[in-house]
Amino acid sequence: MPDSSLCRPDKWSFQSQNGHEAEKMARTLLLALFEPIWRPVEAHYRRSFLLISPTVPASVSRAGVNQQNLITLLSFGRYIQNMEGSYMSVAKTPHGSVVKRRSKSQIYQQSIRSCFSVASRLGLTPGQTKMRLNTSRKAPKSQNITDKVNPEHLALMIKTEWQLSYVTPLYQFRHTQLKSYGRQLSAFIAAEKQQGLAVEVGGQQNTFKVSFSVLEGLAETNDDPETVLIQVQSKPLFARQDDPQKTVWSGWLSCINSNPDYLRSLSKDFTCLPLFGCKGAEGFTSLVKAWLQMTFDCCFGLLEISQTSLQWLAALWTNCHMESNVQSLKMQWTLPVVPPLHVTYTVSADDALDLWNSVRKNSPEKSKRTDEEECVDIEEVTRFMQGLMSHFYRHFRVDLSAGDLTRVSTALGSAKRSGRIKISNSRYLINTLSLLTEIAFLKMPI
């Protein structure tokens, strides 16, 4: 027998009716109330959508959100970077660190580890690196650096393909201690190669010999720390006594035309050599990296040469054709079709230079800057690339802008997206390295 009071229909109808009324009322009220507030915010909301929709690739918005799309988005960030020639353009603020307003009210300080201490030491506003890829740079001038740098050293640097990495600042690195580093590293390599065998540091190593040396003169500004060359030498297993040791691995740490503000903001304990190139067996690379990481508390990351940087290289190398023969400009694109389409596009250097000059002539700055030092702008580079691509489209009906530029090479050198670079002419070494240093600085975590 159900509770009689619950069964009374009059009660229920009353209640439900009343409830409906109130709810309806509330809804009307809310709608009315929201009207004035909603408008401006909604407008903003729409705007933000507008902001998103053209920039996010369609696949992202369709497929929802996951890790894969994040990558797409990220690569898209690179796309934005290309278009605007600047990275992180979303968050640009003047570099005035933090407003230091003083008022009569209390002033308090943030605790030591908090946000600003490190960042402001580095002269950066929190959360954003001030550094961006330059939108304008000097056209490379052929430099005869043989009088500055030992030709033997130069010969080591050029004509080999280097795998690039970026390195965070080295802690307690001293250019005066290179000998001792060599001893330690050779002992380390020996110990790692023979697991379970202790090795005396500085003892007689007949298997591996590591030498650290300074490539004197391979620096541009006074702030740049000198470039350091690391070589691992070894004797072949069945070599005769008097056989010379063979270099099995070599690498260098360099910093050319660095950001002086960044360098000065680091304390004296740190040495900033952000660009690391190496050549040789993978095993040695990881051993040397591991030792450097352990000894100087630094980190290594792969340095990819972004599309923009490759375009820069293509344009700058073409520009060099005025002084020395670059033979031909060779580019490789990968188009995102299934299976991926690789396009190799070779232009004779004269034609490329013609195009480049035409693009340059169109630039209004040209006339102004004739007497000043010659500068190249990102707009010119972009126009140059667009010219090349539209030429290709006219002939093959393939739009290269849909793909990725993966490789650029001329007689002066070659660069691959995966971070491999080869410089064939010492006269443009400094220019190329300073561009690469710039890319490496962009990767710094702080």
């Binding site: 009307t28 943030q110 030591i112 201490s117 005396e200 000894t295 990819e304 702080i446």
Partner: protein, 722 residues
């Protein structure tokens, strides 16, 4: 002779202690003393010890009944209760000096079970005998094994360390070497690691091959002096020294049990080399914490000038050790390793060295950037577990330090722009809530713009999560303020490391920006989600923090919720939201009144915007009118609502529809109350509750239902109650 007397004294004291409990006779102490002395003279054990300490060199062993008798006596005591330190000294001396030849030597050694501690002097003397006498090699090994077994029971180790070089010389002996290495391992300090010792060990290594005992000793040398020796131990050798099967172990445990002694495990096989978990090989292992290791790359002059001896952090095993060595700890070569151990985190809290913190931040920023921003390998999905683990560890460290790391903040500002709002969402939001106060000039670009996009394009649950995260952020900022403002009042100046000052007004600006931002998010979020009560609940959480900023955190700042939050909360159909709104309004009132009274007392110019008061009054009047007076009035509020529109809704008596009886949130309570109040009535007339008596009963009824916020609100705002 004196030693012997001492010895017997203390020995019998032990016995006395034991018998004291069951001695029931109440004879005077002096009588007891006499008795004891008499017993002592006859105690065969004391006599036996006396025999061993006085026995002449060259006394024959074979056929010596006296020796046999005394030895049995000692063994009996030893295996039963263990030997006192003095007895140990006597027996060790007897055995190692070979006074009666080498034959009883091993037998004596086997019964050397300490009752409490082992005197260091005895061990040192025995070690000296080791090189003097012609002890058979097996006995020598037995002796070293004995030392290893009782190592933790040796009362002090300073003199043993003083003869480190002497002990080291036994390494050359092939048979002794494994055991000597272990002993040296236990004794090694930084100052005992020398080049010539390293060379000697390496020479042995080339002679004996890769022996684990040599490697372990060398690896300890590497910890102390990585500039002298280096090695990498293959994983199969990482097990430490073999726990040598010792003949004393079980007997010793028995003795300790009987004596109720809490002695740490007899043989310490502590081994410094961390056994790495065999993680599967990854091409990019940037998420792996570096192993902690001592610094190789030292400034040579620093070592000399700073006279104090540094202790590598790797060597610190316990918190007490950490406290003892706090002033002379040497940071590891890779600062990232500090995040791996809780002990190191304790130390990190005290690290003042800015370079060290910068190193940590470089590493952390690198790892985060590589994993989440550069992710060049593309296989990011594969290591989601590792990323999760890494972030959890980072969060754990941040919670411990109650502070974020600048590099993780910097990373977040970038990451928010590309984040999809679902990847590792709880962790990222958690990290986000740790970011410190951002100056008002940058808060918009760094935080608000990316968050706004995320908020409007994601699910309800993300919205709730974000509001909660911002609430935590606000709480942390306010807590930070209350701590530092307090210190400022007490005139405690912080150390000079800080490079940034933020003024009170700057701080207030930032907080205000944050509160306004959440207000906007909340208004639109509620509209988008149809005033979802879950979202509303998180928003009200936020305003519970906001309404109390003055009294709880001492920040003279009052921000009212926007209409887009207030009205949905008021019109909510669930009573909890209305109750919480009432509580929030009540707290606003308390805060505002106390702010106002303080303003009068101190005459301090902290000015609360008049608009704030006006808004508050509007809300208050609206609420009281609606809930209490049954007279909703929209003219005074900031809402433009025409009468025609209200009429269009077709609701009769629209102004009374939101009193405590008819409000949709409370109607069920009103019906329930009506039933309870007039159980016999057939037709329900809720308006009858409005009569004064039933009304106050009804309120009482509501208050008993747990609507404390409502209770506070009504009691403080309605004239009759206030």
């Amino acid at each position: 002779m004196a030693t012997l007397l001492n010895l017997s004294d203390s020995d019998s004291l032990v016995r006395n202690d034991q018998s004291v409990s069951n001695r029931t006779s109440n004879r005077s102490l002096r009588v007891a003393e006499k008795e004891r002395k008499k017993n002592e003279a006859e105690d065969p054990f004391v006599l036996a010890l006396k025999y061993f300490s006085e026995v002449e060199v060259g006394t024959p062993v074979i056929g010596n009944d006296e020796l046999e008798k005394n030895l049995v006596q000692v063994e009996k005591v030893a295996f039963n209760r263990g030997l006192s330190p003095e007895a140990l000294s006597v027996m060790l001396e007897f055995s190692m000096s070979l006074r009666m030849g080498s034959s009883p030597c091993a037998r004596v050694l086997k019964c050397l079970l300490p009752a409490s501690v082992v005197p260091q002097e005895a061990v040192v003397r025995a070690v000296v005998w080791l090189s003097v006498g012609k002890i058979p090699i097996s006995t020598q090994v037995l002796f070293i094994k004995w030392v290893l077994t009782v190592f933790d029971m040796i009362d002090a180790k300073d003199k043993l360390r003083a003869i480190y070089g002497f002990i080291f010389s036994f390494v050359a002996d092939e048979n002794l070497c494994p055991f000597i290495c272990h002993l040296l391992y236990l004794l090694t300090r930084k100052e005992s690691v020398r080049v010539f010792r390293v060379r000697k060990l390496l020479e042995l290594q080339s002679k004996l091959g890769r022996q684990p005992y040599l490697l372990h000793l060398l690896s300890l040398y590497k910890v102390f002096c990585p500039e002298l020796v280096t090695l990498s131990i293959p994983s199969r050798m990482r097990s430490g020294f073999k726990n040598h099967i010792s003949p004393w172990k079980s007997a010793l445990m028995g003795v300790q049990k009987r004596n109720n002694l809490q002695v740490p495990s007899s043989i310490s096989t502590a081994f410094a080399a961390k056994d790495k978990t065999t993680s599967r090989k990854r091409k990019l292992n940037h998420l792996e914490l570096p192993a902690m290791s001592a610094v190789t790359n030292k400034e040579p002059q620093m070592e000399q000038t700073s006279g104090r001896k540094l202790v590598p952090l790797v060597q610190i095993q316990s918190f007490s050790q950490l406290l003892k060595n706090m002033h002379r700890i040497e940071l590891p070569s890779q600062m990232g390793s500090l995040l791996g151990s809780s002990l190191a985190l304790q130390y990190l809290d005290c690290v003042q060295d800015e370079s060290a913190l910068l190193r940590l931040n470089f590493w952390l920023g690198y790892a985060l950037h590589e994993e989440f921003l550069f992710c060049s390998d593309g296989g990011a999905n594969q290591n989601a577990g590792e990323a999760l683990q890494f972030l959890n560890r980072l969060l754990c460290a941040q919670h411990f330090l109650q502070e974020g790391f600048p590099s993780s903040d910097a990373f977040l500002y970038k990451f928010l722009n590309v984040w999809d709002g679902s990847l590792l969402c709880p962790q990222i939001l958690n990290l986000l809530s740790n970011i410190p106060v951002i100056p008002s000039s940058q808060i918009k670009t760094l935080l608000f713009e990316p968050l706004m996009q995320l908020f409007f394009t994601s699910s309800l649950f993300f919205k709730c999560g974000l509001i909660e995260c911002l609430n935590h952020m606000l709480l942390k900022w306010l807590t930070w303020h209350s701590v530092y403002a307090l210190e400022d009042d007490l005139d405690i100046s912080l150390n000079s490391h800080t490079s940034i000052n933020i003024t009170l007004s700057g701080f207030k600006d930032s907080v205000m920006d944050l509160v306004h931002f959440v207000g906007r998010l909340a208004s639109v979020g509620l509209q988008l989600e149809g005033c979802h009560s879950l979202l509303l609940s998180f928003i009200l959480d936020f305003y519970e923090t906001v309404c109390d900023t003055f009294l709880r955190f001492g920040l003279p700042l009052m921000v009212m919720p926007p209409p887009g939050v207030f009205y949905p909360a008021f019109f909510a159909t669930d009573p909890v939201s209305v109750d919480r709104l009432a509580y929030i309004m009540h707290r606003y009132k308390v805060n505002l009144t106390s702010a106002k009274s303080q303003e009068k007392v101190t005459k301090q110019a902290f000015h609360i915007n008049r608009q704030t008061f006006r808004d508050f009054n509007h809300y208050l009047v609206f609420m009281v009118n609606g809930l209490w007076n049954s007279n909703m009035c929209y003219t005074e509020t900031n809402l433009q609502l025409s009468e025609e529109l209200l009429e269009k809704s077709g609701v009769p008596q629209s102004s009374t529809r939101f009193d405590l009886i008819h409000h949709p949130a409370f109607m069920s309570y009103a019906v329930d109350f009506h039933q309870k109040c007039w159980p016999g009535r057939k037709d329900m007339d809720l308006n009858s509750i409005k009569q004064s008596k039933p009304w106050s009963w009804y309120l009482e009824y509501l208050f008993t239902q747990g609507f404390d916020g409502l209770k506070d609100f009504i009691q403080h705002n309605i004239g009759r109650w206030a």
